[in-house]
């Protein structure tokens, strides 16, 4: 059992998989000699050499094109896009080429590739280096979308993403990089499309992702003090989506909340609320409520960014008010 930071867990997982599969390669800006701007790929160049761990120019289309062309000809690839905001620079490659080519060619090609990227706010980087853009990827058929909240999940889900024969966008949260936890010894491989109930409860279900998971857990602790028992689900993966775990929880609690870091419109929570209202309507004891960042670009100043992102206070207060207004089920 080793204690790993979320940041170190990335390189740990990549090293585990590169040792297993000698054909696996990685490329990206500053990933090799510099070890990544978030220091998530430290040590990989030394262990695996420059043929397998490659620095690239600032050319996001060329990076993902190289990944796609290599993957479709039998080389599994991990490509890093430094900030998830930069996915917009190479979105054609992701949304039109990587995501659709298998379907368009009637299954002639497949893409064993992972696009890793630093996602999310809280680092005071302003509107172009702080976005939570999982929803961009979630709405494109042909992409799998994963966003871990703990070091162990980084290792297990990244390993699973690398072994998956389909393209996976893997969102690493910038504000979780320093969090530490114990990761089991030996090979760690998880399953995509499995949500975890990270706190059991009986009154309300809270679905959260990445940085919002620890905040939802803290809010749940405080709700308990007010007599509200909250179940917290870490979704971990948006595609595939573990609706079974979600619907089972709602059937038990009768109230459903989402905590989303993304701006309001078309967030993943809207899809979840839609599924719950279609398939668990008669289990509900009150309205489903989404707790999100307002529909604004993220501001840079600490005071403003803290107001924008769902805080423990806002999560707690919103749920408490919503439950109080209806009385307990």
């Amino acid at each position: 059992m080793a204690e790993l930071s979320y940041r170190d867990a990335v390189a740990y997982a990549i090293a585990q998989e590169m040792r297993r599969d000698p054909s696996l390669v990685m490329l990206g800006e500053d990933v090799a000699a510099a070890g990544g701007v978030f220091k998530t790929t430290v040590g990989l160049l030394d262990e695996f050499g420059p043929d397998r761990v490659r620095d690239t120019p600032i050319s996001e289309q060329a990076i993902l094109g190289a990944a796609m062309g290599a993957a479709m000809t039998g080389i599994p690839v991990i490509a890093e896009i430094m900030f998830s905001d930069f996915l917009a620079v190479c979105w054609d490659m992701i949304a039109n080429e990587i995501a659709k080519s298998r379907y368009m060619t009637n299954g002639q090609v497949s893409f064993p590739l992972v696009i890793r990227t630093a996602n999310g706010g809280g680092a005071r980087f302003g509107a172009q280096h702080s976005q939570s853009v999982e929803n961009w990827a979630m709405m494109i058929p042909g992409l799998k979308v994963v966003a871990p909240s703990t070091p162990e999940d980084v290792v297990g889900l990244l390993a699973a993403a690398i072994r998956d024969p389909d393209p996976v966008i893997f969102f690493e949260h910038k504000s979780l990089m320093a969090t530490k936890a114990v990761v089991p010894d030996g090979e760690v491989v998880d399953h995509l499309g499995t949500a975890h109930v990270v706190r059991e409860g009986s009154d309300v279900t809270i679905a959260a992702l990445a940085l919002m998971v620890p905040r939802a857990l803290e809010a749940a602790d405080r709700l308990a003090a007010s007599g509200i028992s909250a179940e917290v689900i870490d979704l971990r993966s948006l595609v595939p989506l573990d609706t079974r775990t979600l619907l089972e929880s709602v059937a038990k609690t009768g109230r459903f909340f989402t905590v989303e870091e993304n701006p309001r419109l078309c967030g993943w929570g809207a899809e979840l609320v839609s599924i719950v209202s279609e398939e668990a309507f008669w289990d509900l004891d009150g309205p489903s409520v989404r707790i999100t960042t307002p529909h604004i670009p993220l501001p840079s100043a600490a005071a403003l960014e803290d107001l924008a992102l769902p805080s423990v206070d806002r999560i707690h207060d919103t749920i408490e008010r919503s439950v109080d207004s209806r009385g307990m089920a």
Partner: protein
């Protein structure tokens, strides 16, 4: 240039073709290769014309982008490439697909949206792909596939094979960022890739010279990426074959990428929606005189090929195109079962449990 030409391109100074290079008669190309290139030229031309006819009969839906007049480039490269090599093409990819040996019937059926199409009807005219033949796809948003060709070349380099990736694209592609990203990466990684610009003088509807900073949209950019400027007659299969062979040899021997600008001309418009009225009449007439098929026909005669042999090739291709058309028409419409397959590698499309 009259100022009106800024708005009415048909009033522009025409761009005339260079004369045929007669010395190519003596080029060191086997007669078998030349006859096969003549057969392929005929196949690409007759396929394109048939696709056009079937569109007018409302059997081909959507749109088609034909290579009529431009077939010598796909033909010359097709003859020079080896079976394991990779082709990446644009939406104007019928010729490049057939040049790598895609089945005529399966290609035609795909244009008709039939179950027996090479993509089962899921891709259509703009996405012809046949991985078994090395035809790695037709990419309908220009630029990306140059980067993807790099990836296939990188993969060949890592696997230690001598495969080469060849990316074909139009002059318009040279003004999108991915073109420049791809050339730079190919050079710094010394990738076995050949970039082939088919400069037909028009972006889609706009003359390329009016919207490009340099005269030769590809070749004049080569030096920025440490590559040689190579301009060839894209309407002469022999010229293309020779340039292709040299670039492929260079890539195979580990000496890195090449960028070739092949000058050519579209017989028709950009797509089915375009009557191409923006081109000066004398320009069009001059290029019709330089159509690759009569020019190559004459060359083969002048080096001693009997006329009857060429006629026999033309008839053989005509029969094959008729058979392909019948195969396509006889195909069923794809059934509902195909709709939800092959989003994922497990064959399905499930996104939730």
């Amino acid at each position: 240039m009259p100022t009106d030409s800024l708005h009415d391109y048909s009033l522009r100074e025409p761009r005339f073709p260079d004369p045929v290079d007669r010395s190519l008669e003596d080029a060191d190309i086997a007669i078998e290769t030349r006859l096969e290139m003549y057969r392929k030229l005929q196949e690409l031309r007759q396929f394109g014309k048939r696709a056009h006819d079937l569109f007018l009969q409302n059997l081909v839906k959507g749109t088609t982008h034909l290579s009529l007049g431009m077939e010598a480039i796909a033909t010359g490269f097709g003859a020079a490439m080896q079976p394991g090599d990779y082709t990446f093409a644009t939406y104007r990819g019928h010729a490049h697909s057939l040049a790598r040996g895609m089945d005529l019937g399966a290609a035609m059926a795909e244009l008709l949206g039939r179950e027996n199409g090479v993509l089962g009807g899921k891709g259509g005219s703009m996405h012809l792909t046949d991985v078994e033949k090395g035809m790695m796809g037709s990419y309908a948003i220009i630029g990306a596939h140059l980067c993807i060709a790099n990836g296939a070349a990188w993969s060949a380099q890592m696997r230690g094979t001598d495969q080469v990736a060849v990316a074909f694209f139009g002059d318009g592609t040279t003004n999108i960022g991915a073109f420049h990203e791809a050339l730079n990466m190919a050079k710094i990684w010394s990738l076995p890739v050949v970039f082939v610009c088919e400069n037909n003088l028009y972006m889609e509807y706009t003359p390329i010279d009016l919207i490009t900073a340099v005269d030769h949209p590809a070749a004049d950019r080569a030096s920025a990426y440490g590559m040689e400027s190579i301009i060839i007659d894209g309407n002469d299969p022999d010229a293309v074959y020779l340039a292709a062979s040299q670039a492929l040899r260079k890539a195979r021997s580990g000496d890195g990428p090449s960028l070739i600008e092949a000058i050519t001309y579209r017989s028709g418009g950009h797509s089915r929606a375009d009557p191409a009225k923006y081109r000066p009449k004398d320009e069009v007439d001059a290029w019709v005189e330089r159509d690759p098929i009569p020019v190559y026909h004459e060359r083969l005669l002048s080096i001693g090929t009997p006329e009857a042999e060429l006629t026999s090739i033309e008839h053989g291709v005509a029969d094959a195109i008729d058979a392909a058309t019948e195969f396509a028409k006889a195909g069923n419409e794809p059934g509902e079962a195909a709709l939800m397959t092959d989003v994922w590698s497990d064959g399905g499309s499930q996104w939730r449990n």
